[in-house]
Symmetry: C2
Subunit: 531 residues, 2 copies
């Protein structure tokens, strides 16, 4: 592939995961009304300009939707092993050719009409409750009569368990064993997730939970393969790296080449059923010291000779499939990458991330906003005791003072929290470039960020999703870095602060265990004085 | 690897799937009584000659068994994501170090103590029956109250479904996501299967069905990767080909090399979680015409230049994991191999098997034996009408006559079926080498074999397992071949007869469909006159 072609491709930034673009042309505009006749694949494709009149186009759309419904029905209702590949292919292509609106209609249909057969469940439940459990039927005695009773019990229990599975499970399982089906299911789930943001009904939510559970099972980490991605890989793969890089967008050809070149590594987790496309990938920089800012990794410093590297810095982890949201694909990823790098370069002894803190500003602004209200209430009632048990001053006395000294017309406020809230809420982020404000905010934001990372929790786990990911994997919080990501996104997300999580091989298992068991977050001693 | 080493390895025919040999030495003889202390991996391994006294050895065995039970318990009862890799490793190694007797004890324990929590099920069933189904709670109205009711219903139904899963599912799922765990589960199931032949209790049977279901899901054909196996592959892989070849055993180094050399292909289905070992492999010979005997494929004819080949002959398919019995791993295998061969060699246009007929003689002997009894009964009662509706003379009049003409001291009998039964039952298979008997038996056995393949069914599918496999995949029965496998095994199994199944690309889908739908077996016209 020529550089020119790749450049065009990169400029276009075509998101190849846009499923509507995949197969529309493959799916016929005119379909025989009897789907059986459809199997010959001799589809009659009409001139695309024909039937562009409104009513006719509507008729075609209706017909396509109905055919897709019928194909789905065939795919579900065919006998156990008798569903044909053609039916499954037709359903996949048909679904992808539908408008978003029709897809949603189909998903509602799937969730409701192919739900659990509850009549069957009730029948079996009654049978089940009438049986003696195998504990009362003692197998030890091995009298044939008793064994027969236990046998019946296990059979009915098995049937009951299976009857509680929604009928749509059949479709999911058949697609999973079908070439391309897993990729398709991830697209279907992406549609479902976007739909749930608008129409969160219990039946759709259950459909999603069910599909998520299944996908999680099928995409077990043990089936994922780790490969290094290099400049020699096909453009169709590199294109996806460009499209999916979610942490630090790849801006141009040079940028991509640098991330795959000397002193850099990129590894992807691949699943055999979704070839040519990593499900998740991680970018690594080989360095002499632990980087404090993303600028030096991405642009400032030229890469050092690899034999001088002592530190492998993980600076970006991106997952590529929106339809796999909530499924932990990263398990073992870091551990396996460390093993691979270590084998290749034994002189590398430090494994550390330079990570974003995606939830920091959101948490801080919401905290400041609610606490400012409490403070205003207290002030208006002239009470000296806190108005609520939830109220606290998140600022230290000296921080309060420093912030009030900043108070002027542009960032007024009755108290420190209000001043800080007003400063941070300005959409253009003036504070981040102001030589007057920045030095005042630095110690305050750094302290609050340490608090956020080490103390703020949800169900006993770190509130920050990236922190939770690395802590689960057995990392510790090593250092937070001021103005480490000066990009607009970085300033908005985390006031430009980034964090280094360190993986110490000798502690990974222990730290992971204690984090799971008690939510304990290990941090370097340097971080604690900030709290 | 030197030829000498490989030769030694091949001679030894070490079956590397013997799990007891894998890890015995890795597992400590002395284990601290507190399994927590075990995690440091600084196991104290005592001198193996110590403690060989009977009582002491018994004590050690007991202790090891108890530790494995405790490890299993930890692996199951740890919180959702908090089970450590070390615990799972310890359980795997511990299990593999147990004697077969202890393994069986452990499996009984697993089946009984980690079964469904039935108290929980009963509680949820009662809650469930008390709820209105979402159909009665109409979601269309979208009143928050009704939606809330539906939401509760779905949650309870979800909980009920999960409560019906046996607790041992947790162990299976955790092992599946653990490196090496899938391989381990297949060993565990092999133990279970061999145990079921002796102790077929409902709880063990259910444990097996459950594990089989799970393994079938995890080993979906979509996750299997097809690779060509060549002489350049590692000896550790080739060793497995030698060990697992089940159809035509590989006798020596030269034999293996020939099967991987010019005019031959070997393809394996690999799973990413079980690296270095195919789950199933298929051997292919490139030929000018469809081979009639296995001798010409394996020994007689030198391979032809590959560019002269027009026919790809599949002469052996072997699965390697006894623990995966009953799971259809071969789905898509043939189709994918055909695609691969066709791409590589467009001049190959015929895809055909030379297959054993593993069930023919067993079926024939049992048929002859039962029908001989019926015939004897009829004779003794002097009745002219058949004594049973099940009785039939499987022989044609001219076959009856021909067989009676053979009757002498060595193969006496009152009627043809008895003569045939007596001839075929002689363990040394004299008939197969007798110039007097062989020509008489040939037309009879060939006709009965065609009948067996095309007409004998079980639940609407071909009785013969190999026939069923190929017919499911969309093949047709092309030809049966006399004395096509003169090996002892071949004569015992199928009177030396082998069969060619042909895959015609244009018919694969249709034939597979009609076989599934109605059990229709397609056969070449030449076969029908034999019936």
């Amino acid at each position: 592939m020529s550089k020119k072609n790749l450049a065009i491709l990169l400029r276009a930034r075509m998101r190849s995961n846009d499923p509507t673009k995949l197969s529309l042309s493959q799916f016929p505009k005119e379909i025989p009304s009897n789907p059986q006749e459809n199997h010959s694949r001799d589809h009659i494709v009409t001139n695309p300009t024909e039937g562009s009149g409104n009513s006719s186009a509507f008729g075609t759309t209706r017909r396509v939707y109905d055919v897709v419904c019928e194909t789905m029905h065939s795919a579900i209702s065919a006998s156990k092993t008798g569903v044909s590949d053609i039916t499954l292919n037709d359903f996949q292509e048909g679904y992808l050719s539908l408008s978003l609106e029709d897809r949603e209609k189909l998903l509602v249909l799937l969730a409701k009409e192919y739900d659990v057969n509850r009549e069957q469940v009730r029948k079996l439940v009654k049978q089940y409750l009438g049986l003696e459990t195998p504990d009362s039927v003692d197998e030890e005695l091995s009298s044939p009569k008793k064994e027969a009773l236990a046998s019946v019990f296990y059979r009915i229990e098995w049937n009951l368990r299976h009857s509680l599975k929604p009928t749509y499970e059949i479709l999911f399982e058949r697609l999973n064993t079908h070439p391309g089906g897993l990729r398709f299911l991830s697209i279907l789930r992406a549609d479902l997730l976007s739909m749930l943001t608008k129409e969160n009904t219990p039946s759709l939510r259950t459909l999603d939970s069910y599909l998520k559970e299944k996908l999680g099972m099928w995409l077990s980490p043990a089936t994922l393969e780790l490969h290094q991605i290099t400049w020699d890989d096909p453009a169709s793969l590199l294109e996806k790296i460009v499209a999916y890089e979610a942490v630090h967008p790849i801006s141009n050809l040079l940028d991509l080449k640098r991330r795959l070149g000397i002193g850099r590594r990129c590894f992807g987790y691949f699943h055999p059923a979704i070839p040519g496309e990593p499900l998740i990938f991680i970018e690594v920089a080989l360095m002499e010291t632990i980087a404090q800012t993303i600028q030096e990794v991405l642009w400032d410093n030229p890469p050092i000779p690899e034999n001088q590297a002592t530190c492998a810095l993980f600076y970006s982890i991106s997952s590529t499939q929106p339809g796999l949201a909530g499924i932990n694909l990263g398990k073992f990823l870091i551990k396996r990458v460390i093993k691979l790098v270590k084998k290749d370069m034994p002189h590398v002894s430090t494994f550390v991330t330079l990570s974003p803190i995606p939830g920091f500003m959101q948490w801080l602004l919401s905290k400041l906003s609610s606490q400012s209200k409490f403070a205003a209430d207290e002030r208006s009632t002239q009470s000296t005791s806190p108005s609520s048990t939830f109220s606290e001053n998140v600022l230290l006395p000296e921080e309060e003072q420093a912030l009030m000294s900043l108070s002027d017309d542009s960032s007024s406020g009755d108290h420190g929290m209000e001043v800080l809230l007003n400063l941070l809420s300005v959409t253009n982020c003036d504070w981040a470039t102001s030589p007057r404000i920045l030095p005042v905010l630095e110690p305050i934001l750094m302290r609050l960020c340490a608090r956020y990372l080490l103390q703020e929790k949800k169900r006993g786990k770190a509130l920050d999703s990236v922190a939770n990911f690395h802590l689960q994997n057995g990392a510790m919080v090593e250092r937070i870095n001021w103005m480490a990501d000066r990009s607009e996104k970085g300033v908005h997300q985390s006031a430009g602060i980034m964090v280094n999580y360190v993986y110490r091989l000798e502690n990974i298992e222990d730290y992971s265990q204690s984090y799971f068991a008690s939510g304990k977050i290990h941090a370097s001693p340097g971080l604690h004085p900030r709290l």
